[in-house]
Symmetry: C2
């Protein structure tokens, strides 16, 4: 059937490899009859996690002999592992055998390989990484999260264009509101690249709402996307994760203080579970590599089955929205816009 | 008595001005008999918050006619408000009438004025802002938080030297462990300035423990100080505040969901209060401007009485540790170290 979506999964990637990816694929395939999933990896390793009666419908195996290590350098993965599960999964996107691929493998190697195999969209200098974050109202998407450092104003504008297209596709928001990350101190009011990007964004035709500060990502209403350099985005993301984990640690410590607090914790379980659901990083798993001629979704390396399924879901939404082609068109129209400005 | 400490308080600064600063000063003075506090500001405005029987012991008033607005530009404050409470309080540090000053006024104006009046320590190119943050184990200090952007490797080294001296003074840690903020992606592993600072720090004689990522600030044991550029530090700090506020918002929302959860909230109050105490930003109020020939502490603009007292306490500790002179000596010895290297 031509309307079917085929997703290639790097089944060896991540901290848990096939023990997570295979069960996630089985469940996802059974719940989504319009999707076919290809498990890419060492066939014997994958078979260990498959049911005895063999492969269920719409799940297949593509053997790949090598595995990219979680700490392996991008250069080593790119040059030395041409038959890795990661590389083969990306190759399948290139050849059209798959509509997208999902990997929990290491980000550096994934970005380098995807960029080498798929190439960037014309007009995009640097691919970027984007993910959704929980917010007081709705969700906020942030990019870049570490693919680029020292981004200039043109790069930041490209991030905004790509991010807006993705959020439209995935969230169904027609004109997502874009903010540019900056700091509040009046004296300096941002670095040069940010000031220049501010002007570019004002003239971009995007729904640009101006500067946003670090706390706006989580608190400000009327903000769908926050654009920043990858070094800064990565620090913001990791700092946020750190604070959330610290609070969870202290909350757990306080509830375990004595028998009484233990009892209260039991009573409070539904409340705590609802809180956890709201900010559960597993629900937000699945970062997209944008700006490539093909769809690549990065799962968190430590993802469990539920989290990996979310990443598959993101890939599927991007395929359904034809995101790579839409970004190609948007970037081309931005280039025209700039040329005629 | 010569052993007495005199602190000048910008009583008009912050969102709440004298309504917070005056009561904080009264309580602090009564609890700390070795401290004299000078309330700097419009005398009539201050009198409104003083007891009818007049000034208590060790609290005095220094009239200053003008007030720097919370959104006023540093240039306007510096050039146009020579009799502002902020400026006069800093002047008192310059003339030796006060050992330190504390202001909840706007950061940009405070930094610009302090830098203009007090000047930087020889060998320090740029003053920096540092504060303590809660962490799973102990506290972590971070600088710079927004005074500098585009910091080069030498600046980052200076931040580390100054931060280490402050933490030794305030926390009593002999050789505080210094980390350098970076991102984890192997492919790029940091911007040039960070890579160069890494080498400088390895040869600095400081207790340098290597790169730290955003989450390490809150989670990593064996880390006392995290050094970074002000743009990045500001984003990290604000993002962290945003996440903490979002979690509090959701927790409150979930506890208010229905009568049962309300009841559980009542039972859980002691636990929630302990949690709040651990991460209460009021407890961490008081950021220090480092690298100046004098001690200036910045309180959060929205500080309440308790929080402002914490900022006064920081100033007092810095005076007791003679921090400005110690940093002067440390920077001089670093310069010698580098010259002989």
């Amino acid at each position: 059937m031509s309307s079917k979506i085929t997703l290639a999964l790097d089944a060896m990637g991540g901290d848990h490899g096939p023990s997570v990816v295979v069960p996630a694929a089985l469940r996802y395939a059974s719940a989504n009859p319009d999707c076919s999933l290809v498990l890419v990896g060492q066939e014997s390793a994958l078979r260990a996690y498959l049911p005895d009666k063999g492969l269920p419908p719409r799940v297949s195996i593509r053997h790949a002999a090598e595995v990219v290590g979680m700490d392996e350098s991008p250069a080593s993965a790119l040059r030395g592992k041409k038959d890795s599960s990661m590389r083969v999964a990306i190759n399948m996107v290139k050849t059209g055998e798959a509509d997208a691929c999902v990997s929990a493998g290491n980000t550096g190697a994934l970005m380098a390989t995807a960029r080498f195999v798929l190439k960037t969209i014309p007009g995009v200098d640097r691919p970027a990484i984007i993910t959704a974050l929980p917010a007081v109202e709705g969700r906020t998407w942030m990019l870049d999260l570490g693919a680029n450092i020292d981004s200039n104003a043109d790069h930041l504008l490209q991030f905004a264009v790509m991010g807006a297209e993705l959020v439209t596709a995935v969230e169904g928001i027609a004109a997502p509101r874009v903010g540019l990350l900056n700091i509040g101190e009046e004296e300096i009011k941002g670095i040069e690249s940010v000031k220049q990007a501010h002007v570019l964004l004002q003239n971009s035709g995007l729904n640009y709402v101006g500067y946003a500060e670090g706390d706006d990502v989580y608190l400000k209403e009327g903000l769908d996307i926050v654009v920043t350099d990858g070094f800064i985005g990565n620090v913001a993301l990791k700092s946020s994760e750190g604070v959330a984990k610290m609070i969870r640690h202290f909350l757990s410590l306080e509830f375990k203080r004595n028998l009484l607090t233990w009892a209260v914790a039991l009573l409070a379980l539904p409340v705590l579970k609802n809180l956890k659901n709201r900010i559960d990083p597993r629900r937000y798993n699945g970062a997209s590599l944008l700006g490539l001629r093909g769809i690549v979704v990065k799962s968190h390396g430590g993802a469990d089955q539920f989290a990996f399924e979310q990443a598959i879901g993101i890939a599927r939404k991007e395929v359904a929205a034809d995101i790579a082609n839409r970004i190609t068109e948007m970037v081309a129209s931005q280039l025209q816009h700039k040329a005629s400005a």
